[in-house]
């Protein structure tokens, strides 16, 4: 299938006089591992918010599986197969870990009680959170919260998983752990967009990388190509070109 899974066309988003995204176009192929990088404030999370429906668009369209989803509310996009995690974990605090997942199961796949319970448990085992299933989510450590966010996103049975800085604030051993999880998820056929600041993680994970700066795409290609791009280096390091 050559058709793009997600097709972002000319998406523009303004906040008052500030243009957060300026005519961004990108097509994500089914099964792809896609890295999204860029300095702080470059529009990465805004783009994700536009894709998941948290923010409306000022211009452009977003298509998923060939259908225009630009006007759909967030929950319907999730049901069509776009799930995400959050930069700062947003657990359902009064629920246990397994209940967090069951919400996503129940509201995307229909309303099954026992079945969703078993599937949520299997997913938690897979994510290494089996032992914490019946603990309140407020008791989890940072790395466990990140894993639970990914598990909850997975519970929505997505075709496209968007991971928004799932590794921020983790130790390098923990980063590898989460990275392995994401790669395993991808091997099961789920397309992944990964937003990350941690370069070695992006390099190891991504098949293709796009770099945003001030709401525009400044480079796109293989990880090595993008890292070698002079504009990318300037955007990150602020180095002036010296020829």
């Amino acid at each position: 299938m050559s058709q793009a899974l997600l097709d972002v066309k000319g998406v523009t988003k303004r906040f008052g006089g500030f243009t957060a995204l300026d005519a961004v176009s990108v097509a994500i192929r089914p099964g792809e591992r896609f890295g999204l990088v860029g300095p702080n404030g470059s529009g990465k999370t805004t783009l994700i918010n536009c894709i998941s429906g948290v923010l409306g668009l000022d211009k452009g369209t977003i298509s998923f599986l060939g259908a225009d989803i630009s006007k759909l509310p967030t929950y319907l996009r999730t049901r069509r197969g776009i799930a995400r995690s959050f930069q700062i974990p947003r657990p359902f605090r009064t629920m246990t870990v397994i209940e967090n997942l069951m919400v996503a199961f129940e509201f995307t796949a229909g309303h099954g009680g026992h079945q969703s319970h078993d599937e949520a448990m299997a997913l938690l085992e897979q994510m290494g959170l089996g032992a914490k299933a019946f603990r309140p989510s407020s008791e989890l450590s940072q790395v466990e919260l990140r894993k639970m966010e990914l598990a909850r996103a997975m519970a929505a049975r997505p075709k496209l998983l968007i991971s928004d800085e799932a590794m921020a604030g983790l130790s390098s051993a923990e980063i590898d752990e989460v990275l392995d999880l994401l790669i395993k998820v991808n091997q099961d056929g789920i397309t992944i967009i990964m937003i990350e600041h941690i370069m070695h993680a992006v390099m190891r994970f991504s098949e293709r990388v796009m770099c945003l700066d001030a709401g525009r795409i400044i480079a796109s290609g293989t990880p090595a190509e993008v890292m070698a791009d002079q504009r990318v280096q300037e955007a990150y390091l602020g180095a002036s070109s010296q020829g």
Binding site: G53, P73, T74, Y75, F92, T94, M95, F107, R152
Partner: protein, 324 residues
Amino acid sequence: MQQAQRGWIFWAVAALFVGAAAVATFSIKNEYPFFAGYLILQFMVLATAWNILGGYAGYVNFGTSAFFGLGVYTAVFLFKATGAPLLVQIAVAAAVGALLGFLVGLLTLRMRGIFFSIATIALTIIIETFIINWKFVGGATGMPMIRPPAMPPFDSYIKMLFVNGAVMVVIAVALARFIQGSWIGRGLRALRDDELAAACSGVPTLKLKLLACVISGALMCAAGAPNAMYLSFADPASAFNLNYSVSALAMALIGGTGHWIGPVLGALLLSSTQQLLTVTISSEVNVLVLGLMLVLFVVAAPDGILGLFRRVRARFTGDAGGRV
């Protein structure tokens, strides 16, 4: 299996409750216990209704008195215009409440936290002003309501209202219990914890909030409908009294908002204390006591009676908690 058993117990207790209320009306001559008891039942319905939106979904509604008052005046209008019997008054009031809940929800549920609460206070003032200027239902001075004879087998109207109140409590609590245990309740709880994360997990947040607002509004309005006959009088100042808003909220908070039994316990405790104080000291003191108890609970037991109970149980079983 365990759930089915619990359901069975719930309905058995409910039947026993209504049965006991009915038996009492025939075996006790004095009307006063039913006069006082009716108010407790009324507040159980109000607190339970409030909890569906305020507790489960976390949208603090100060508009209880608007819904309650509208229920009172729906009954007044129906009675004056058509002489409709009590059950019709209640049914129509529930429908009107559902409609108001839907409209208000549509307008206000996009607002979060304090903004939603302020909008609901405004609602009371708007509807009360409208009623004050409506001569047909008595305007600002109100109008007396002459009770028709009680329907057999009841020998007094107050006793009939009391049994009717018991049935309404069962309906309200059964609805709240159903919502709590169903996907609706889990969705509401998810959006109360984090609305954005809920939407991203597939929860139709606006629809669920609207549904909660409709059910809650219908119950509040239905609870108001018999009040005109209960008092034999209806006037805007007492029908739209802000005390209803504060009491419903306080009773749910003091009982505990997470579980359907919370508001029932809260209403039982607060309302019977208030009745006792009204009789022994004065009706002004009971407002003071309401305030004091609310402060006491917020400080000492923020999760209400239920939270207190859980803490005590956890201490005895040595469990650190966790499962709620």
